[in-house]
Amino acid sequence: MNASQSIPPFEELYTRFAPRILKLCLGYTGEYAQAQDLMQETFIKAWQHLPAFRGNAEVSTWLYRIAVNTCLNHLRTAKRQVAEPLLEQHMATLADDTGEPDEAVRRLYGCVSQLPETDRLIISLVLDDVPYSEIAQIVGVSEGNLRVKIHRIKQQLVTLFHQHGPL
């Protein structure tokens, strides 16, 4: 594959993938301010390393891998702060035509962030409908192994979500 043909302009990449990367980071941290920082770091790194991207993987896989590594390299000693105004800001960006209450979104992010680190990242990708083959490449496990994990994490997440009562 020719990289120059497969890589869209960076601004387009940002527009297309920033919301998904933000959700991945939000699932990982459970906090909007940190998730926003991680998303920005991901795109800075992607921008810096774009010339090195040779097009031997999907651009989405490449970006997700950077995001996963950025999340894992994240400064763990950083103060975990709940930035309520920012979370509210995030909620405001969610379209309200789906009829889903904000509470459900908040609860879902909260439940995802209670899972172990790897499970958080995997389930965020599953929730975003990323194909299993791509998730396997992003996290670096076999697809068979991944399916088993996903089955377990899905059950765990549904249980956690419903423990907090009906919507």
Partner: protein, 201 residues
Amino acid sequence: MDPFDDLKKIWQQPVSPPDTVGWEQLRQTNATHSQKLAQTQLWSGIGLALTAVFLATFNELTGIRFTQQTTYVGLYLMALITGGQAVVNLYLYRRLKQIDLAAPVAEHLATWERYYAFRKQLIRINGPVYFLLLNGAFGLYFIEILGRMPLLGRTIALIVYTGWMLYAYFVLGKRTLRREDKRLTEIIGGLRRYQNQLSGE
């Protein structure tokens, strides 16, 4: 309907990235661990390279002429040693910048572990060797410079010099190394934990 599909529906509500984040802002945002590590090496390398150039051209720049050969030898040795250390720092910078952020986690972890092992070995050897050589070069330089001073001035200059060198090596240097080590172990620790979670089932 699968209860998980309900969660997916909630998750997939469209979300826009914050409008305020422009590219210039993105480029200026906070540096990560790896960026900080690389920046430290870059600036140290540049600082030392400039010092080396200054020392090597000291005579031409100032027009000062020394009477003893040892002074020139000391000066050029200092330039050589700081220049050599600049090369080491810039090599470390290059190695850090070459770490593939988009590599699978296992590969990413292995790269960091290789870098960390190399860096530890370098610190064990490079640090003391640099310190000893540099002080040796200063010693040669001081033969003439301090020789011109009265005994009291010589004593004060030596105390100040020795005090500063010991402080720089044992306090400032060790502190910087501790900070660097903390960053590296955090990166590796996080990646290892992730790797263990993946392989633990």
